[in-house]
Each structure stands twice: as structure tokens, then as C-alpha cells.
């Protein structure tokens, strides 16, 4: 085993460890002999079970309520720097989320160590190296990090599967580093969730996504109805319609949005720009509905239907309902 100590920056929400962090813990088991997690949240201790079950021997729990009252980047980077000094990890993995990027970017600058983002693969063979893809996933690039420890790597969610190791809860080590006064200059005063009820985009078996081909924001209802008929399905979107204000960013799939790997991805009125396909081409199967037979999305669809999405989607919803009622 190449590395001694690998850390994972874990996020918690609603008393549960975020799946992206558990994916990283699973990968970390291959990379280092000691795997540990660090959490900054008043709910930190509630993650000990999940973290342990995915390979963390120790959970460093910084549970000061102030961590949810301020922007996490500054204070978490400060505390992590102190913990790094004490425990000397070789590698710290972050999920490519908003907070993950904020903390990792500040920590790298603070420690003067290299940081690589957009990782899809991580290997440790003497040095740490990272696999990522560029130019709309047409090229795979390997980058070696050689500028001192710890190496900091920011990994795109869904790059690895989360698998339990069978171990018990992680040993809790409370972190009592106070949040410095200067960090209170940037406070989080309100939080709003915009995602619809039902399964999450990253977890649903089927993702039904809509693009500009839907012609009108209200036609997203057709996709909601289709997702409802399917059952374990969530609705996603292209950036074109997110930027146009039709649906919230939380629904965006692609390079600058979420990565999804459902059993089936259904692209409705989406052209298939590479910045979009980067976020969905890991699906087990892809269905595309588009009226332009030359749309690039058909190049990667397992089943492509050339036709009007506004006609086909409602027919499909009815067809599924009919089959399910039999």
C-alpha cells in the first residue's frame, strides 16, 4: 500500500453523511493503510456510523455550531491546517461540491501544496496521481502531484461507488478548534432548498432531463408526470434552461452541474453538447428524444427516437401508466 494516511473531507446533511464522501472513503481504502474522515458540522458525530462502515477508522468531529452559521471555507481550512500539522496525512480527498471546493482551495493556498480538481480517478503508487478528462471527455489526462504533502484532490461525485466495508463506527475524536472572529464577517443567514420532492437526482434509477427543446418552462410538468409514472425517477435539466431561469440550478446535469449515473437517462429535447454529456454519459443506458436526427445526443444514445418531444413524452407517460395498471 502506497500511502500511510488518507483523509476524506466528509459533509453531513440532515444527520447523515453525504453520499459523495462515502464514495471517497470507499476509494481511500485502496490508497492508504489508515483512512480517516474529518467533518465540520454540529451534526458531525452522527456521521460516525456511516463513516466507519465505509472505512474510516477515525472521525475528527468539529461540531461547533458556528460552522453552519458562517461560510465554511475559511474556518474549516484553518482547523484542517492545524490537524494536518498534528497528524500529517499524505492525501486529503474532497468531493467537488461548493463547500468542498471552498475548503480545498483555501487549504491548498494556506499549506502551499498542490491541488487538482475534477478528478475521476486517484492512484497512489509512491506519488499521488489523478485521472481526469478534458475537452468534453474526449481526452483522459493523468496528473502527478509532487509538490509536498498532503496532496489535495477534489473528486467529481459519482466517480466511485460507495461500498460498506463491514466495519463498525469510526472512533470519534472531537476537534475543539474555535471559529476565529474574522470568519464571522461572512455569515449564512438563510438556507433555501429548491429541489422537488421524490428521489434525488444523484440517486434515482431513472433521470428524465429536459432541454431547450421543451420550448416552454411549463412543459417541464410533462417530465414531472413522466418521472411520477416511472416511480424511482428524478427530473434533470440542461444548462440552457437553467440559465434561462426555467428551473433551478440544483437540477442541472453536466460539467458545471451534477454528475448522474442512473440505470436509464432519458434526454428530452437536449442537443447533447459535450458539457452536458460529461455529466450523464456514465449512465448504464441512454434514451434520447429529439426532432433533429443529426443531434449529437444520438451518437451516444442506446435508443434514439427522432420526433417531437412534446408529443412523445405524454404518450410515454400514458403508456407506462397503462402497462403498470395491468
Amino acid at each position: 500500500m502506497a500511502l500511510d494516511r488518507v483523509w476524506v473531507f466528509l459533509e453531513v446533511a440532515g444527520g447523515k453523511a453525504a453520499p459523495a464522501g462515502l464514495e471517497l472513503l470507499t476509494k481511500a481504502r485502496e490508497l492508504g493503510s489508515t483512512v480517516e474522515a474529518v467533518v465540520f458540522s454540529p451534526e458531525a458525530e452522527q456521521a460516525a456510523g456511516d463513516a466507519g462502515a465505509h472505512g474510516a477508522a477515525t472521525l475528527y468531529a468539529a461540531s461547533d455550531p458556528a460552522y453552519t452559521e458562517v461560510l465554511l471555507g475559511g474556518p474549516a481550512a484553518d482547523a484542517l491546517a492545524a490537524l494536518v500539522e498534528e497528524h500529517k496525512p499524505d492525501l486529503i480527498l474532497f468531493a467537488m461540491t461548493q463547500d468542498g471546493r471552498d475548503v480545498a482551495g483555501r487549504l491548498a493556498a494556506k499549506l502551499g501544496v498542490p491541488v487538482v480538481a475534477n478528478a475521476l480517478e486517484v492512484a497512489a503508487d509512491g506519488a499521488v496521481s489523478v485521472g481526469s478528462s478534458v475537452f468534453g471527455a474526449t481526452l483522459n489526462v493523468t496528473t502527478a502531484l509532487e509538490g509536498g504533502a498532503p496532496a489535495i484532490v477534489i473528486v467529481r461525485p459519482k466517480s466511485f461507488a460507495a461500498e460498506p466495508s463491514g466495519a463498525g463506527p469510526a472512533k470519534l475524536v472531537p476537534v475543539a478548534i474555535p471559529v476565529a472572529e474574522k470568519h464571522r464577517r461572512a455569515r449564512v443567514v438563510d438556507r433555501t432548498a429548491e429541489v422537488a420532492s421524490g428521489p434525488k437526482l444523484e440517486e434515482a434509477a431513472v433521470v428524465v432531463s429536459g432541454g431547450r427543446g421543451l420550448a416552454d418552462p411549463k412543459n417541464f410538468e410533462l417530465l414531472e408526470q413522466l418521472a411520477g409514472a416511472i416511480g424511482n425517477a428524478a427530473v434533470g435539466a440542461s444548462r440552457a434552461v437553467v440559465d434561462a431561469g426555467w428551473v433551478p440550478y440544483a437540477m442541472q446535469v453536466g460539467q458545471t452541474g451534477k454528475t448522474v449515473k442512473p440505470t436509464v437517462y432519458i434526454a428530452c429535447g437536449i442537443s447533447g453538447a459535450m458539457q452536458h454529456t460529461v455529466g450523464m454519459k456514465g449512465a448504464k443506458a441512454i434514451v434520447a428524444i429529439n426532432r433533429d436526427e443529426n443531434a449529437p445526443i444520438f451518437k451516444l444514445a442506446d435508443l434514439g427516437v427522432v420526433g417531437d418531444v412534446l408529443k412523445i413524452v405524454p404518450q410515454l407517460t400514458e403508456e407506462i401508466k397503462k402497462r403498470k395498471s395491468k
Binding site: 471555507g73 471546493r101 493556498a109 496521481s129 481526452l139 434514439g304
Partner: protein
């Protein structure tokens, strides 16, 4: 109020980029270059802030001489002054070096707000703003999708995985903006003419009293580049009224209905 906006000149995102096979650096020769479209939102955000609160926007950029075009475009949009940090040694800089250079430039200039995009369209590393904020020892108010200024308090809707947070911060800060935060203006003819007489400075790392930045000190290097395996196309059918039924069959085969 002093607003510093970072802009980057990048290969036209409508063309597929290429890496130089020997150096593994981005090929810049013979490629159309443009101001990163993400940075247009940053320039617009900066101009809106000074239009409301008074003051000036300074544009800063690090990159080859050709980067001047991006700075000029921002001046034509309405910024007061531009600075390009350019030096052969900076070629191959990593995110950390870039952040050190930009932070030193912003500090030299003085600022209440430094604005960047959330990620560059060519590299999309997305950590330069946070690294700059750490070096400057100020908060990084990131992923802004709306911006309001009330005295010296900045109120921002910050995009999150699930929706958005409302963040309030007192200046000075580094602010990163998303696409959709505003509608960037086009430079007017008058703006383009006026830009020619605006101050445009060139700096080197030496002027910024920086050492150990640039390609030679990058703590990372690309060791391999290969084509990514592509998914093949499957069955394509024309909808003749049976398209929906065919999709339903497919979903049933995959056991999701």
C-alpha cells in the same frame, strides 16, 4: 469603492481544445482566443456595483501578451483601468501560482471587492477565487447567483447542491459569480473608442515582488494523455406514432418500470 475583476483570455470554447503533445500544455498557437465567457458576468457585476455605489473597476489578468484583448474588451464594457501580468516564467502556472499572482496584483491595486468567475471555461479548476481569498486573508463569497450591496455589507444568494444560501459579508471580500447572475452588456462603439485611451499597465512577477511562481514551481505535471473511450450509438428510430411504445419496451427491458 474599488472593485477588481479578474478576466482570463482563453481559446474559443466553441472549438475543441488541444494539448501540445510534447509539453502537455494547452495549445494556444493558431487558436482563436476570447475573453472567458464566464468572466463577462464578473465584469458586468463589477460595473453594476460601481454604478450603484460609485468608484471604479480595475481589470486584472495573467497570461500571454494576447491576453490584452480580453482586458481591452472589459475596458470597452466600462472598466476604468487594466493590468496584465505577463512573463515567460508564468507559462504552465498551476492554480496556486495563478492565485498568488492575481492576489498580489489585487493587493497592489487595493480593493473592496475582487470578482472572479466560479471556474474558468478552459481549465474549470474552480479554486483560484478561494485560494486568492486565503492569500488576501478575506472571506470568499462564492457561487453568487444574485448580488446586492448595502453600505459595506454584501448580500449574496450562493448556489448550493440543493438550492441556495443567503450570505451576508462585510467588505473586503473575494466574490465569485455564476453564469446567470446578470446579463453582460456589449461594448458600445463609444466604449470601444474610449477604451483606447484608458490606462493599461503591464507587470511581471518581479514588479509584484513574487518569487517561486510559474511553471517551474508547479507542484503537478501531466504524465499521460490518451483518447477517452467513447460510447457508441445504438438503435435510432423515427417516431411514426410508435416511438413512445418503443421507449416503454426499452424501460421494461432495463427493469425500471
Amino acid at each position: 469603492m474599488k472593485v477588481v475583476v479578474c478576466v482570463k483570455q482563453i481559446p474559443d470554447p466553441n472549438t475543441t481544445g488541444q494539448l501540445d503533445p510534447s509539453t502537455h500544455l494547452l495549445k494556444r498557437e493558431g487558436v482563436e482566443v476570447v475573453m472567458d465567457p464566464g468572466d463577462e458576468y464578473g465584469v458586468e457585476a463589477g460595473l453594476k456595483l460601481v454604478e450603484a455605489a460609485g468608484g471604479e473597476v480595475t481589470i486584472i489578468s495573467m497570461g500571454p501578451e494576447r491576453g490584452l484583448d480580453a482586458v481591452r474588451k472589459a475596458l470597452a464594457m466600462g472598466a476604468a483601468k487594466g493590468i496584465l501580468v505577463s512573463d515567460e516564467s508564468l507559462r504552465g502556472s498551476d492554480a496556486l501560482s495563478t492565485a498568488r499572482v492575481l492576489a498580489a496584483t489585487a493587493k497592489r491595486e487595493g480593493f473592496d471587492i475582487v470578482i472572479t468567475a466560479t471556474e474558468s471555461t478552459d481549465g474549470y479548476t474552480g479554486i483560484v477565487p478561494q485560494a486568492m481569498a486565503e492569500i488576501l486573508d478575506v472571506p470568499a463569497v462564492t457561487f453568487a447567483k444574485s448580488i446586492e450591496l448595502d453600505g459595506d455589507t454584501l448580500k449574496v444568494q450562493r448556489q448550493t447542491e440543493a438550492g441556495y444560501d443567503v450570505v451576508q459579508a462585510t467588505l473586503p471580500v473575494v466574490l465569485s459569480v455564476t453564469a446567470g447572475v446578470n446579463e453582460p452588456r456589449y461594448p458600445s462603439l463609444k466604449g470601444i473608442m474610449g477604451a483606447k485611451s484608458k490606462p493599461l499597465d503591464r507587470l511581471t512577477p518581479r514588479d509584484l515582488e513574487l518569487s517561486g511562481v510559474g511553471g517551474a514551481s508547479a507542484g503537478q505535471s501531466i504524465t499521460a494523455v490518451e483518447p477517452a473511450p467513447q460510447r457508441g450509438a445504438g438503435e435510432i428510430v423515427k417516431d411514426d406514432g410508435q416511438g413512445a411504445a418503443r421507449v416503454a419496451d426499452f424501460l421494461a427491458e432495463r427493469k425500471v418500470i
